[in-house]
């Protein structure tokens, strides 16, 4: 099937070249034969998660542009990467169709798609069509447990998040001499929220960690009113709130906590979006101060990060490279690196190269990207970030820290003069 497609594509290609040559003459002939390698970015740029989807696409695109600016894939004669753009609309059906489309258009590798459900559909299709698939962001463990040969994941899996969370909390509690914390865990009722929340709770229980969970509250994704939930949180009188949220409800949560005067030592997310986006800080201002989040973050001390982030901020004013766009960028770098080493665009060669990846980078926190047998990046790591001075700063682990963490919160939300 693939043979037929290649032949057909080749025939179409030559016909096109022939036609354009006939019409436009020699310069066109030269241009049409410049080597080009197509890869595809599939992200949910419309639909309920489109704010993150667009961030991902920008990360993918910028990496492609940067690689091309530096000379493209040198082992293939300086071939430029061309990024085919796909919109999964956050639906599995569309994700599959878009994946089929970009494969037909000649993509030799796919990157994406943020949502784990979409990722499953694309991964299965890539296995069927034998096309390599690199997940820049997708957290559900299940995907790499199905024995897929063609799927790789750059992002850490949720057990990794939970491990780190406990490590960081242990350090904070030890250093601040807090022997026990009474906490409430909340999460959005979607796949990511549920998995994060459940994994965190599971680890707390298994490791018999000194965080007592007073309550676990879930609310529907897309909820517009959290007053009931916060009333319940207040009634439980916790020391710390551990919220797994999304960009919409994170704001609601903070405002409700303010309005209902919920006394807290801290707000520490086990790992979720909603707390580090520039719009969140801009909208919340002083209220965002001292919120902590355990996320696979960009490496603030990294040379690569600083350079890319500056340009990202120039291209998209008001935005900075965060977890999602950072990993999207990294995903493409990993693919390019594999292409360099594979010296070919054949699927099996690319997969072989990906398996042997050892990509040193200081774009995101964590070591060199390297995949285990299941395709997971074993050096993927998360860091504890905190909003200090209305900017996101890495506070743990110390070796990557930009600032010392602040715990407990010195001022309650309503004492900040807002």
């Amino acid at each position: 099937m693939k043979e037929k497609m290649n032949r057909r594509t080749f025939l179409k290609y030559s016909a096109a070249v022939g036609a354009t040559t006939a019409i436009a003459g020699v310069p066109t002939l030269l241009r049409a034969q410049a080597p080009e390698i197509k890869i595809a970015s599939l992200q949910p740029v419309t639909g309920v998660i489109s704010d993150i989807g667009i961030s991902m696409r920008r990360g993918n695109q910028m990496a492609v542009d940067d690689i091309n600016a530096k000379g493209g894939i040198k082992s293939k004669g300086g071939a430029k990467l061309r990024l085919l753009l796909g919109d999964t609309e956050a639906k599995e059906e569309v994700a599959r169709s878009e994946a089929e489309k970009v494969i037909k258009e000649g993509a030799v590798c796919i990157v994406g798609p943020f949502l784990s459900g979409n990722a499953m559909t694309i991964a299965t299709l890539c296995e069927q069509r034998q096309v390599p698939f690199v997940m820049d962001v997708a957290a559900a463990d299940d995907i790499t447990q199905k024995g897929f040969k063609f799927t790789f994941r750059v992002f850490p899996v949720s057990t990794n998040f939970a491990n780190n969370m406990l490590l960081y909390m242990e350090q904070i509690m030890r250093e601040k001499k807090v022997s026990k914390i009474r906490g409430v865990v909340t999460n959005t009722g979607d796949l990511f929220g549920r998995v994060q929340g459940a994994t965190f709770l599971k680890f707390l229980k298994e490791k018999k960690f000194p965080i007592e969970v007073l309550g676990h509250i879930e609310y529907p994704l897309g909820i517009q009113d959290l007053s009931a939930e916060v009333s319940k949180i207040k009634a439980l009188k916790p020391d710390v709130l551990f919220p797994v949220a999304r960009p919409g409800d994170s704001r609601l949560l903070v405002r409700e906590l303010y309005k209902q005067r919920v006394q807290l030592m801290g707000i520490v997310s086990p790992g979720s979006p909603g707390w580090y986006e520039p719009d969140f800080i801009r909208d919340m201002k002083g209220l965002s101060e001292h919120i902590m989040d355990n996320v696979p973050w960009v490496n603030p001390a990294g040379k690569m990060f600083k350079e890319v982030n500056t340009r990202f901020g120039q291209k998209y004013p008001g935005k900075y490279l965060d977890t999602n766009s950072g990993y999207a960028y990294l995903g493409v770098l990993v693919i390019a690196d594999a292409l360099e080493r594979a010296k070919s665009t054949k699927a099996d060669d690319i997969v072989a190269a990906l398996t042997k990846t050892y990509f040193k980078q200081d774009l995101v926190i964590g070591g060199a990207v390297t995949f285990d047998k299941k395709g997971d990046n074993i050096n993927a790591d998360s860091a504890m970030v905190q909003i200090i001075g209305q900017a996101v700063k890495v506070v743990l682990p110390e070796r990557a820290a930009e600032a010392k963490y602040v715990f407990p919160m010195p001022k309650q939300l309503w004492d900040r003069g807002i």
């Binding site: 489109s50 704010d51 009931a228 405002r255």
Partner: protein, 303 residues
């Protein structure tokens, strides 16, 4: 059973219910007069939110004033929509009426996305953080304001329909379209104004909600559904019914899960009714009403 919590939840839900009432009022007008299921209702509300947001951003005017502009803009959209599309589908079979409005819902939703981007927006406005405390109760100021303004608007609309000539014409056209035509009423214009008012209601409600909820292009759909539940609960054709229905649903969604959980525990069942299932409460109420009293609580004739 935590009575304090229940009271807190109840009041919070009641206040939000006031805004729901306003949204449902818009729908009740449209459905009551033209028999059209406005599937774009929620999405139109979101536009109202965005208009108020934009004004806040550009001029600093608080949404509790600029909701009037939202209402005006949406009136214009509604009028236009009725004259161009809705008017043509009035006599279509019901199923055919659904589609154009579903299409318009997509248009509203995605054009909002193109214009304002996909990010959740939650600007700080003057009252967004204030609250009033009475002992154990905390009352959310934005909610209180939204409730009060929503009630005022609803009463104004009701007055308009009862006392003004235009209002009477609208009610006449609702009751008897052929009759109205025979008497020489410009039914098309009446319908357009009616749709416009319905849209204005929902636009105003949107403006009032800006200090309360984060904005995104995709939050409209659940509101369409809720307004339908409220309209049926209150009684189709009864505008006061929409008001009452809104308050009931607001409270039900807020305290329902907590009450039911207490009920379960009370009879020895170790089961929690999660907040994530709060919509089940509203749908359940809807089914019961439709089966036992289809004309709704305050509806007169059978819809």
């Amino acid at each position: 059973m935590n009575v304090n919590l229940l009271i807190q939840l109840g009041i919070s839900g009641f206040l939000l219910g006031g805004v729901y009432s306003l949204i449902a009022l818009g729908l009740s007008l449209i459905f009551g007069v033209m028999r059209v299921i406005n599937f774009a209702h929620g999405e139109m509300m979101v536009w109202g939110m965005y208009v108020a947001y934009t004004l806040l951003l550009w001029t600093g005017i608080d949404p509790f004033f600029s909701f009037l502009v939202s209402a005006a803009v949406l009136f214009f959209f509604g009028y236009l929509l009725q004259r161009t599309i809705v008017n043509r589908i009035l006599d279509f079979p019901e199923a055919m009426q659904v589609l154009p409005l579903v299409g318009m819902a997509m248009v509203f939703e995605n054009s909002a996305r193109i214009i304002w981007g996909p990010d959740y927006l939650s600007p700080q406005s003057r009252f967004s953080l204030s609250s009033v405390s009475f002992g154990f109760l905390t009352i959310d100021t934005p909610r209180l304001l939204a409730f009060s303004l929503a009630v005022i608007i609803t009463l104004l609309v009701l007055l308009f329909l009862k006392k003004t000539d235009m209002g009477k014409s609208i009610r006449a056209a609702a009751d008897n379209r052929t009759g109205a035509l025979l008497v020489g009423t410009d039914v098309n214009k009446i319908y357009a104004i009616c749709f416009g008012i319905g849209a204005a209601c929902v636009g105003a409600a949107g403006g009032l909600l800006v200090p309360i909820m984060p904005l995104s292009p995709y939050i409209g759909a659940p509101f369409t559904l809720i307004s339908f539940i409220i309209v049926i609960l209150g009684g189709m054709g009864s505008l006061t019914g929409a008001m009452v229905g809104g308050l009931i649903i607001g409270v039900a969604e807020s305290i329902g899960p907590e009450l039911i959980t207490n009920l379960f525990h009370g009879v020895g069942l170790d089961l929690d009714f999660p907040q994530t299932m709060k919509q089940v409460v509203s749908f359940f109420i809807l089914i019961v009403i439709m089966l036992l009293r289809p004309q709704g609580l305050l509806g007169g004739k059978k819809g």
